[in-house]
């Protein structure tokens, strides 16, 4: 009787361990919810406290964009320390490869905007402790290459002002997938969501 109970207990424990290992990718317990957008960590060390994600690593949004050849805006709120960075990856594969990359990197009191590793604009001066808000349009359906517009501020005010920068990716490059996500380098993110493109050209 005791042996039977022990055997059953071992089976239950083993089954629980196996169940908790989850699928090929992240299980629900690894999801990082951020104001309505669920992210799945892909690599690195990311944590969430009081609705703010921080650390160094890469995470992909669970729900994809409308399609590969689509145009969307992305609204993010973030903080970057000196030398840190935040990269928005759009229209990428589910492992965030082969997409459009818009990188925000802080050099002291300036946050520089880079596309394809080239500086294309910058924010007004800010401190490391300041939370910056940006709205980024990515039009992945243009024959000249992905068209990227970056505004300072939220989506409600974007489009009423001139963007900080408005480059096309070089050589007509476009993102190859329909997923999006973020890559943090010592950064914190408190908001990240997407919607229809602001600039309807």
């Amino acid at each position: 009787m005791i042996r039977t109970i022990l055997k059953l207990s071992v089976c239950v424990i083993i089954t629980s361990i196996l169940a908790s290992c989850g699928s090929d990718r992240s299980s629900e317990s690894n999801v990082l919810p951020l104001q309505g957008t669920q992210f799945n960590p892909l690599s690195g060390n990311l944590s969430i406290t009081d609705g703010i994600i921080s650390g160094t690593g890469k995470m992909v949004a669970n729900l994809p964009l409308d399609s590969v050849q689509s145009a969307h805006h992305f609204e993010i709120a973030f903080r970057i320390p000196n030398g840190g960075a935040l990269k928005l990856l759009t229209h990428a594969t589910d492992t965030l490869e082969s997409g459009n990359a818009i990188r925000f990197v802080r050099q002291r009191n300036i946050v520089i905007i880079e596309v394809d590793s080239l500086p294309v604009g910058q924010f007004e001066t800010s401190a490391e402790t300041d939370t910056l808000r940006a709205t980024i349009d990515v039009h992945n359906d243009e024959s000249e290459g992905a068209h990227i517009l970056v505004w300072a501020g939220g989506a409600s005010t974007a489009g009423t002002e001139n963007p900080l920068c408005e480059p096309h990716r070089q050589n007509g490059l476009l993102g190859a997938g329909s997923y999006w996500g973020l890559e943090l380098d010592q950064a914190t993110v408190s908001l990240a969501k997407f919607g229809d493109a602001i600039d309807q050209d």
Partner: protein, 358 residues
């Protein structure tokens, strides 16, 4: 802005010169000039219903054609339409064509609407309805996919109508483009086979099988496969019944791996009430069949539209059209977007009498 205004001014001056020239639409040079105007008003019936909520001149198009010499014909069409807050005047088609070099063959070279599908081969003001179905907008453009290249059509010497067509165009731009686009890794190319069969009671049905491919500068292959079907019954002046439909599948492939597969279609049956009036209802469908979340779970999605349309022709040269656009976009059984608006369209043609296609 200045460049646009200059283009409009130059175009207007050229047009004025043509209109006052004695040989317009005369037999001296065979020059034929026609102008098509498309006026559109939309009113949303719900908040953010998708209509433009005003009356607007959607497009004005000038078409000019003439024999150039005994071997070549020339065709030019320029269109003014609204982009953002201003009217843009740009070429739609500029090409040479000939059916005199190779027997049973037509060749055209230049800038033209790609000879593929059904809607893509017609200018929007010639459509049987007001606006493009979603599959046309997404796969080809708001009006049509056009590009510069060369197209060859050959009518097979069979006892029935079967035409084969091959086109190759530069592919620098496909769909949305602000400028000349970017050189692709492989140009746009397409094939079409068109078959026709008579039906009972003065009817006929034309079926087209279509393929289009292009590899953009990012190395992504786009392939389109489609079938189009047009059936017509005509009694004297009355188009008693029209059935027009297209079904398309688009696949995007990156580095040998399919990244997205989409299907889209429309079906438009139309009944001729009398010589002046027709009523039809268009059914549209669109879905990304490969859509998955980041965990690999399939995401069900389906966009549909139902567009009843009433057309009234005062003559061959003017049409008034009233339609109601009812559409819904759903993802995972949740409606994420809806459009409800009424459209009133007026199309008229000045100048040369355009010949009717099937």
């Amino acid at each position: 802005m200045i460049r646009t205004n200059a283009a409009i001014l130059l175009g207007s001056l050229a047009l004025s010169g043509l209109l006052f020239a004695e040989n317009v639409n005369s037999n001296d040079t065979g020059l034929q000039l026609s102008i098509a105007a498309d006026l559109l008003g939309e009113v949303s019936t719900i908040e953010n219903g998708g209509g433009i909520n005003r009356l607007d001149a959607r497009e004005a198009e000038i078409g000019v054609m003439a024999p150039i010499d005994p071997y070549l014909d020339g065709y030019l069409s320029m269109a003014a339409h609204r982009e953002d807050d201003e009217y843009v005047f740009e070429p739609h088609e500029i090409y040479l064509s000939s059916s005199k070099f190779i027997p049973r063959s037509r060749i055209r070279a230049g800038l033209f609407f790609l000879g593929i599908g059904r809607l893509n081969q017609f200018h929007r003001h010639d459509w049987a309805f007001t606006s493009a179905p979603k599959v046309q907008r997404e796969f080809f453009g708001v009006e049509a996919a056009s590009d510069a290249g060369i197209e060859y059509s050959w009518l097979t010497p069979l006892p029935f109508y079967l035409e084969l067509r091959l086109g190759v165009t530069s592919g620098w731009a496909y769909g949305h483009a602000h400028g000349i686009g970017t050189q692709p890794n492989f140009p746009t190319h397409y094939l079409r086979a068109t078959y026709y069969n008579d039906l009972f009671s003065n009817g006929g049905i034309q079926t087209g099988l279509n393929y289009l491919g292009r590899r953009n500068s990012s190395g992504q292959w786009m392939t389109l496969l489609g079938i189009d079907l047009t059936a017509k019954w005509r009694q004297d002046r009355v188009l008693t019944f029209l059935l027009q439909s297209e079904f398309w599948r688009r696949q995007l492939i990156q580095d040998g791996t399919p990244t997205e597969t989409t299907i889209g279609y429309y079906l438009f049956p139309q009944y001729g009430i009398n010589p002046s009036m027709e009523f039809g209802i268009r059914f549209d469908g669109y879905a990304i069949t490969s859509q998955q979340d980041a965990l690999g779970n399939a995401i069900a999605n389906f966009d549909y539209a139902i567009v009843p349309t009433l057309s009234y022709h005062t003559s061959e040269f003017a049409t008034l059209r009233l339609s109601y656009h009812h559409s819904s976009d759903t993802t995972s059984s949740i409606e994420i977007g809806r459009q409800r608006f009424i459209q009133l369209q007026a199309v008229f043609i000045l100048g040369a009498h355009p010949a009717h296609d099937f």
